[in-house]
Symmetry: C2
Subunit: 132 residues, 2 copies
DNA sequence: GCTATTAGTTTCCTCAAGGAAACTGGTTTC
DNA sequence: GAAACCAGTTTCCTTGAGGAAACTAATAGC
């Protein structure tokens, strides 16, 4: 019938020789996007780092320890992190009510991530300082 | 003269017993902030991951490989990354001009950071999928 | 001369991030 | 009953992140 069909189909597109490894790369790139969706922004990593390095804290403690953050932002970010099951919010029956924020076991799996981030950051500071 | 001055000064503030470790914690928290300033946002990590996992690329290649990004954003993000010395921009004297983007040796020190991020992201996907 | 490709830039737009300050509501202390 | 502390919420505002589409400029092939 139509013998022109075949050659044209074969020449238009170059086949991906290494499709399997390409899929794996794409999965990694997607994973990178996922993490940044959860951790991106000015405050989340800082809040996690404070809780991770200084231990559980109440709302007012966090407000004082996460330098520069305001009550509204803190409230919102804590909520986000709670939804992503990275920390828990526990209301304590104290005289003036207090709320304890703590990193969950799942949140603690972020420790290596934060640590790698932090150690790169510490080196980066030095690198930049030396140049200027 | 005024013997009321001393007692009041001594009782107002509690001293920080462990000031040295506290300073170190604060340095870490600052470092975390630094890194996020450089890598935060929707695209930077994705661009770095693409270049890291797929190798050098030209502008148009990146436009096709970083899914969803537009020319303006790509241009701006590449510029930012170049300023932070994480990648280089090389104009090649080809017929229609091409520009090669490559991760610098310094940018390559981000590899462990990206890898940790990615491996947490991959696990996170599984964790979330299982629940819903 | 028309179209295509590369590497952007420019313009105009929207929506979300983030911030300051005032306010709520309950409790304790003086 | 006034002041203070905790844990927020609400309101109003500004800035910046990000996006779509059109445009520039150079070159090559048809």
């Amino acid at each position: 019938m139509n013998d022109l069909l075949l050659p044209e189909n074969l020449t238009t597109k170059r086949l991906d020789i290494n499709e399997k490894s390409c899929q794996e790369q794409n999965r990694k790139i997607l994973a990178a996007r996922d993490v940044m969706e959860i951790l991106s922004g000015k405050w989340k990593i800082q809040i996690l780092a404070v809780l991770m390095y200084k231990g559980n804290m109440r709302f007012m403690d966090l407000l004082r320890n996460v330098h520069g953050i305001g009550a509204k932002m803190l409230s919102k970010e804590l909520h986000d992190l709670e939804i992503n099951q990275l920390l828990t919010r526990t209301v304590l029956p104290t005289k003036p009510i207090t709320v304890d924020y703590a990193i969950t076991p799942y949140g603690k799996t972020l420790r290596p991530v934060i640590n790698t981030l932090v150690s790169w950051g510490l080196t980066h500071r030095k690198t930049i300082m030396q140049q200027d």
